[in-house]
Amino acid sequence: MMILHRVYISPDKVIVNGKALELTEKGSALLTQIYRSHIGNYPKFFKMDTLCKLGFVASELLLNAEGNRNFEPREDRAVILFNRSASLQADTNYQSTIQDSENFFPSPAAFVYTLPNIVTGEIAIRNKYFGETSFIVIEENDEKLIEQNLSVAFQDTDTKSIIGGWLDCTDEENFEANIFLMEK
């Protein structure tokens, strides 16, 4: 397996293939700044929870680094991500809409993100990927364990490349993405 491109995002740092991007914002505002300065024209971004925003902007930077984006449907690319916190931030946000029995208004838009695998779906829908999509929750960012799981995914002969790696978010100001584009 060979890593072709890598993107790292923390609340105060964005690195694409080893090169830091010059951005001024921090935390969730940083994700919006990446969207506005490097992506744009996808209003659905603003409806996403922080985990999805993080995965979306990280995958966009990764795919822009790859180049030749044509958004043609393809079945040979999988999206397989890992984290520790599942969809904790979205769960907390949703809980706040049902906490008070006097003000009980469950938000469908908040509820929809209470599954961490929604982010893999968002990336697949955006790019018309019809390969495997999985989101696996593990105890820590264990590169060896991640690599083992990705090598299993490559046993599917249709899968030629994977957007994979670590994508964790505990709240709007605490998150980490370390994702890569990998070929068999």
Binding site: P43, F46, K47, F105, P106, S107, P108, A109, V112
Partner: protein
């Protein structure tokens, strides 16, 4: 009615996270779904919650939504006739 339409536009922008839009960007006669604002089924559910939360209107029949959510103007007229708060 104009005041309610403007307030409703503000509430829709906030509830649906239409970040880059202002009330002035929304045509009160344009379709909320499909070609108009391009809202989806989750947004429709969120609008149902908005009507209950802000105006005390509980839709008994979800199919009513098809008529009520035709446009902001139609939605405002329905709210004016049925609001309990």
């Amino acid at each position: 009615m104009d005041e309610l339409i403007y307030k409703l536009k503000q509430e829709i922008i906030e509830a649906l996270n239409l970040e880059d839009m202002t009330p002035e960007d929304i045509d009160e006669n344009a379709s909320l779904f499909g070609e108009g604002l391009g809202l989806d089924s989750i947004d429709a559910l969120e609008l149902i919650v908005l009507m209950e939360k802000n105006y005390g209107i509980k839709l008994q029949d979800p199919n009513q939504g098809k008529e009520i959510f035709k446009s902001v103007k139609v939605m405002a007229e329905f709210i004016q006739q049925n609001r309990t708060k």
